[in-house]
Symmetry: C2
Subunit: 198 residues, 2 copies
Amino acid sequence: MTRSAARAMETSPWSPREAELLAVTLRLLQEEGYDGLTVDAVAAKARASKATVYRRWPTKAELVLAAFIEGVCQVAVAPESGSLRGDLVQLGEVICDQARTHASTMRAVMAEVTRNPALNDVMQHQFLDQRKALFKHILGQAVERGEIEAAAISEDLWDLLPGYLIFRSIFSLRPPSRRTVQSLVDDVMIPSLTRLNR
Amino acid sequence: MTRSAARAMETSPWSPREAELLAVTLRLLQEEGYDGLTVDAVAAKARASKATVYRRWPTKAELVLAAFIEGVCQVAVAPESGSLRGDLVQLGEVICDQARTHASTMRAVMAEVTRNPALNDVMQHQFLDQRKALFKHILGQAVERGEIEAAAISEDLWDLLPGYLIFRSIFSLRPPSRRTVQSLVDDVMIPSLTRLNR
């Protein structure tokens, strides 16, 4: 994947007006939390009719998931630090920042996604597939640079770094710090990914 | 920590009658899910008065958390496989089994815990402290056996293995398999923990 391809993946599927509605939703989510958010409030704040919002996102859960994905994808540009370590640290820090900013939204989104197969599909295709491609891109570049062996990459564990950081951010009393990210990269990810190097 | 100390940590803090109420709660949770569970149904099923249940656990959230912790701790005996790899694989598989059996309960417990500081405290002191001690015990034995260097153990990342497996179990479309656990241990945990070995 080229740099421009990585950028293209980040392009929003929404019209400017839809993107605006999602931005308002995300802002209200941060202020009110998932339980406190109403579609009516989103429509009022964005000066849109409720029908406009409901036509595109028939349920609050769908609206919130779309807002979350849009908000998080906007800042998910592939890092190009020039080294595997640099790329992983940068990605880890972005994930921690996002998880901190959107913790209550993420908890709500995950709770909804796990009990709603349709949302699960949206999450998979509009978010996770893209995230997985991002990690593959970063690791592929490390292989090209000769930093790691291709065989050292585990397809099954592609989400180890984001998964653990999200776990720590939203379910533990110990939100991850910059040192957590560094330790995860230096003491775990790099030893794992370089284990087949001679 | 000796073997008997590890066992002692697992002892239930509840009277036999309380343990019975918690067992009934856990069974009903698996049948009905968190939203469907009522304290009334627990009392009826256990032939206890509602007052008895409420006296010990004033809210449904407290009752469910206690039932979850009790149910999960009962099977959390320290593995004694004789090798670090064996211990980690065994622990990983137990975590996956528990997460599969109690997935909806775990999602509900985590959602409640993250918004309720009192429950968070219970979770910390009655569950996480004990889990952390279990991992320290396993890693300490590996140091004693000369399998790893003490300096290779990261205090901050003690919950990497359980945290990632729980993330995969309850928030992803890809519940972890035995191969996931093996790959996590062989390709990640062991290379990380042995990285300082000469």
